[in-house]
Amino acid sequence: MTLIREADLGTPAIKSSVLLTVEVDGKTVMVPEGTSVMRAAALTGVTVPKLCASDNLEPFGSCRLCLVEIEGRRGTPASCTTPVEEGMRVTTQTPDLASLRRGVMELYISDHPLDCLTCPANGDCELQDMAGAVGLREVRYGYDGANHLDAPVDDSNPYFDFDPSKCIVCSRCVRACDEVQGTFALNIMGRGFDSTVSAGGTAFVDSECVSCGACVQACPTSTLIEKSVVEQGQPEHSVVTTCAYCGVGCAFKAEMRGNEVIRMMPFKDGKANHGHSCVKGRFAWGYATHSERILSPMIRERITDPWREVSWEEAIGYAASEFKRLQAQYGRDAVGGITSSRCTNEETFLVQKLVRAGFGNNNVDTCARVCHSPTGYGLSATLGTSAGTQDFDSVEQADVVMVIGANPTDAHPVFASQLKRRLRGGARLIVIDPRRIDLVKMPHVQADYHLPLLPGTNVAVINALAHVVVTEGLVDEPYVAERCEPEAFERWRAFIAEERNSPEAVEGATGVPAADLRAAARLYATGGNAAIYYGLGVTEHSQGSTMVMGMANLAMATGNLGRPGVGVNPLRGQNNVQGSCDMGSFPHEFSGYRHVSNDGVRTMFEEAWDVGLETEPGLRIPNMFDAALDGTFKGMYIQGEDLVQSDPNTKHVTAALAAMECVVVHDLFLNETATYAHVFLPGSSFLEKDGTFTNAERRISRVRKAIPPKAGLADWEATMALSNALGYPMTYEHPSEIMDEIARLTPTFAGVSYEKLDRLGSIQWPCNDAAPEGTPVMHEHGFVRGQGLFMVTEYVPTDERTNDRFPLLLTTGRILTQYNVGAQTRRTPNVVWHGEDLLEIHPWDAENRGINDGDLVVVNSRTGETALRAKVSERMQPGVVYTTFHHPDTSANVVTTEFADWATDCPEYKVTAVQVSRTRQRSAWQTEYAATREATTRIAVPAETQP
């Protein structure tokens, strides 16, 4: 095991079909036209000294170390900024060049502290490397001249330091912030010798910096460096793995020293992130070693008892005996399980297998129920596949991007950077969102149209967009005729052309000006490759599935499916929400989205698993709660999900859990659900196990064990133990064997194996004989279901309405630095940026209620109330308020309702009628819950340590 150092070819790869031949130091190479001399040299194996160049940044030409000689040209051009020409002959090493390079290094070092031995970058410093490479032996200028050695360190960022005394002003950090991240938070202040890197003139932590880490990664010295490296020293080996936060699925190198993670570095070969990262994946991994992690199994008979630490055998044995008792007492269907979108495909597959084969029922569901279940339903119905249609790189060929109900710069930051780069490159942008999200207007990005609809009116808007397409002759008729089911299309066309679906007719309900809506529709239909990216603002509605179908209809009608640059793309919230759905986590489906009532499929599973399987779908999560309150559902195995904090109507959820007799929580922390648990199985973080995650673009990527499971067992091992204790044998030696089983039983995964994943890096399913290396873009030669099916999408307003008592609409979401229920990110320094949930409210609504920025306010709905502080913000439109659900002491879901998607029961988190008023105290529920939590999370002190 060694530290992986990726090659840096100096300048970005160029795409061109014209190849030029160039000779570098006598070696010949063919490169695409437009390639730099530096890159061409690197491709021949010749390393030209450089400091300001990096192959993820446009050439800059500032350091002047990379000068070369070119036959027939005057002078010594910089190889980074000089494109090759046919037949060019380049010499990279001559005595004159050596002298110039030494001269440059002599200047650099004349303004650099001579503290290499005590410098945190010692051993990982390009400046040091270059001094060696050019043979610098003396600095004749001395060290008494003008310098920056007294420049103070800015250590305000919790994750990295900025020490300008080490800075060589190569601008790589500034350029990375601009070009890679697209935030434009850094710049150079002053000019000439006074040029210094600045975060806009303020401390880093107070600046517009989003702590993505691109600048730190770009820095060739220790000017910008991770605090962990400063404190712990350099890593010595790397383990390539996949981030466990959002659905972008960034590849990282866990850079290790022994079993200690020193830092997480984005991996250049990662096909979802191409070497970029966000604050969560790059820095917020410290939760894995947080002191609140539970490392021992625990049990208790009643939730009011203190937890008792026990062995794995005892905990597993107790859980198994309880499940068996409950099934004997209340019937086979009285228990069930929840798979986790944060766990691996293999772990998820095992949990659903445990439920179906071990419990003998289909009572398995997953947290995708509450986020993207409508995506699966809607896309499956129209196109035939429950997944996004494109790879992320497809956006680079999009001409028009329509972002609906998603906030990528916060929730999918690494994809957002790729999107912003394309937008800066000229793609047009339509944003459909109740809030003025950052993409609407931010540095060098501005939406052509922002359609600020009222929450709950998505379907009216998508229908109106389609109405314009249909009635203005913008349908791609040949495409539809060739690819889509004709009768369904005609039915849809007639429906959508009805006047009640026109922009003018829905203007009142949606709040979107008809003229903007028409213009946006025309742009989408006629602007070239048009791609839709959407998030939970689409799905988490009573018409979530309808809206997904509406988007598919619009894309089909305009011919925007089946090639790069187009598509309908869900931005998945969690690292493996795609995978958990793929793996058969829903009560009605086996892996690969095949219904349990399908005899052929079921028989195959029965034979493979050597057990009889239930033919009817089992209970969904909300059904389980209802059944628990009815007294017929008594036990649950919950892996890696916090139902109490994430599901709607918290009081209903807690009552249901309290009514059960055996709740097994398998998690890293005593989460809110553990308050109601009888068995706690300590989970393993993504650093502690092998497996795979599947991201939003159907990309299966390896998760690799960097450190041993802190609690002794990886999650798949614990599930296996539970199954064995239940009497259903599982005997896997390694997760690769589970993947082999998945591949045997799932046609879309037929070609997937760990060996192939290691070889290719990652694979986008379907991967089988027809597509042995996977499928970046779906539906290229026709839709998966055969003919595309237009679905009639009648707009039905939600039953959740505002009235005099509840005049405002609450919508919820998340922000950059926190992740979902916050179990991980709250246990990192990310709380510096977001230490509590805030209620965002428009100044008018605030003023009407006497609310000032920072006031404590109470939010009431028909369901419940909670108190939190207000943030007065013009990002909101009047009448709409917003909060996040990252903090359990706020618990936004106390307020949300049980209204849900008609097809999938996905909760309507995005629309709750509320009232907001000033208050002086926490709500009654908050006080009561805090007391319950206090009383139910005690851990007994082992007897021998008692005094």
């Binding site: 030409g61 500032s62 350091c63 001269g103 200047l107 003008a146 710049n187 150079i188 000439g192």
Partner: protein
């Protein structure tokens, strides 16, 4: 009958009281009941005579100067309106030898016409070149400019026609014309004088460039230190637009072209064309690497002609009189005329437009009249702060791009600054490095750190610290800056330093000054 009196509005004249003189003349005439009209013309370029008042008499325009407010009553007493004699009487303006010996092509109208009168401009041949250009094919206009031998007057001396051809050949649209009016070289003022004295010439030249290469928008990047030029240009552009010479249909043709003036913010480096483009786009004035050339990918990434004021202002006369007529002037590969700006320690500073080939000595002696101090000339810096210091032995070098370069100098923007024998070339060399350090954009290492170190090394040499080693280090630094800098600022700063070392070594080997104590 109304008598026309010319009082310049040029900033050089204003700085010595031209406005007050004009006011006093008007008052004096009113008090005496004389019927006069005051025309605020540009400068004739004879700066030591400013304010130079001209009177239009039956014998033509006669000059008085330098006129102060206190002279006005006396001049009226002396019959100034009829060209009466006075100690300030200089005779017919164009017979003043300094002026009469020039070959004015680019500056033919400067000082003659009312800068803001488009009628006056046309009466003096203005827009005839454009009319001719509009009757020609694009390629023909470019060929005419190429054939004239016109080279970039900003300093680089690149053939203007070749640059235009590159932009003409570039397929991308839109294309831009950018006029570099960030005149920042020490001792230069020709751009300003032209913009203040004959702005329509520049406008016409830019319009021709636009027509020739297919550009529809032109920007004049003007240094903020030229407020008078700014006002004059803006007024002239408005007038040209009102008369149909700018706008959707230039002079009734199918060509659209319009011009905007943008102000710089005081950075010398923004006179470098790529930094200028960055600044024009609203960014920091940082140098862009080349390639791509601005002609291929310039302003906003589009094909762009970037030309100096004088280059563009010379195009009208070329089109008006033909390439052949223009290239008749000059020597070798330097064709046409060069507006020389004579300044520094010289008796008669000013603008002298002459065919290439005149020697430095002729300029200083025949035009400048020797040093203002009366002491011997010791050094002459040609071409601005990045130009070489020439000793007496090189003063017979002719003004010609190649000849000056052969003497390890550069012609630059045509500034000639004279120093007498009190000059210390070691401090001038130090100034060159200090200037570079002050004006460096900070992008490339040789310039950003090197210039600062250059000052320090010269200080050590002057202080007598390890002179031999430090002279060797300075030589290495000069070599590094020359070969490795990203742009001409760092790349040319060694020229004045090296010329000082080469021609005036004694200034670097004097005994170190002894520190004095209170």
């Amino acid at each position: 009958m109304t008598t026309r009196i010319y009082v310049p509005r040029d900033a050089a004249a204003l700085s010595v009281g031209a406005d007050d003189v004009a006011t006093r003349i008007a008052a004096e005439a009113a008090a005496r009941g004389d019927d006069i009209a005051i025309v605020r013309n540009g400068s004739r370029g004879m700066c030591w005579l400013e304010p130079l008042v001209e009177v239009e008499t039956a014998e033509g325009r006669v000059a008085y100067g330098p006129v102060s407010v206190d002279d006005v009553a006396r001049l009226f007493d002396a019959g100034i309106l009829e060209g009466g004699a006075d100690t300030l009487y200089l005779g017919p303006t164009e017979a003043i030898p300094y002026f009469a010996r020039q070959q004015r092509l680019t500056f033919a109208r400067c000082g003659v016409v009312d800068p803001l009168s488009i009628e006056d401009y046309r009466a003096h041949g203005g827009y005839e070149g454009l009319q001719r250009a509009l009757s020609m094919a694009r390629e023909e206009i470019v060929a005419e400019v190429t054939d004239s031998g016109l080279r970039g007057r900003g300093g680089a001396g690149f053939p203007t026609g070749i640059k235009w051809q590159t932009v003409l050949d570039a397929p991308a649209e839109p294309k831009y014309i950018v006029c570099n009016a960030d005149e920042g070289d020490s001792g230069t003022f020709a751009d300003r004088m032209l913009m203040e004295g004959d702005p329509f010439t520049l406008i016409e030249g830019m319009t021709m460039a636009g027509v020739a290469v297919g550009a529809t928008v032109g920007y004049i990047y003007l240094r903020s230190e030229y407020p008078h030029a700014h006002r004059t240009l803006r007024e002239a552009i408005t007038t040209a637009r009102e008369h149909g010479y700018l706008g959707p249909s230039v002079a009734g043709s199918a060509h659209p072209f319009d011009i905007e003036v943008r102000l710089g913010a005081g950075a010398y480096i923004c006179g470098e064309e790529t930094a200028l483009l960055e600044s024009l786009e609203g960014r920091r004035g940082l140098i862009r690497p080349r390639p791509p050339l601005p002609a291929v990918s310039g302003l906003f990434g589009q094909p762009t002609v970037v030309n100096n004021v004088l280059s563009l202002a010379t195009v009208p006369v070329i089109l008006e009189r033909g390439a052949e007529a223009y290239r008749e002037f000059g020597m070798g590969r330097s064709r046409g005329t060069q507006p020389v700006q004579l300044a520094g320690n010289v008796k008669r500073g000013g603008l002298i437009e002459l065919a290439f080939g005149v020697t430095l000595r002729e300029l200083i002696e025949n035009y400048g009249g020797g040093t203002a101090s009366g002491r011997p000339v010791r050094a002459v810096q040609v071409g601005g702060p990045l130009g070489a210091y020439f000793p007496d032995s090189l003063l017979d070098t002719p003004l010609d791009y190649e000849a000056i370069a052969a003497a390890d100098g550069l012609l630059g923007h045509g500034g000639v600054v004279v120093f007498d024998d009190t000059v210390d070339l070691a401090s001038q060399a130090r100034f060159a490095m200090a200037f570079c350090a002050f004006e460096s954009c900070g992008k490339c290492t040789p310039c950003r750190i090197g210039a600062t170190r250059g000052v320090e090394v010269i200080d050590r040499i002057v202080a007598g610290e390890e002179r031999t080693a430090n002279l060797e280090l300075l030589d290495d630094l000069n070599d590094l800056m020359t070969k490795a800098s990203l742009c001409a600022l760092g790349g040319l700063t060694p020229i004045p330093v090296r010329s000082a070392l080469q021609h005036f070594p004694e200034d670097f080997s004097r005994p170190a000054p002894v520190a004095t104590t209170g």
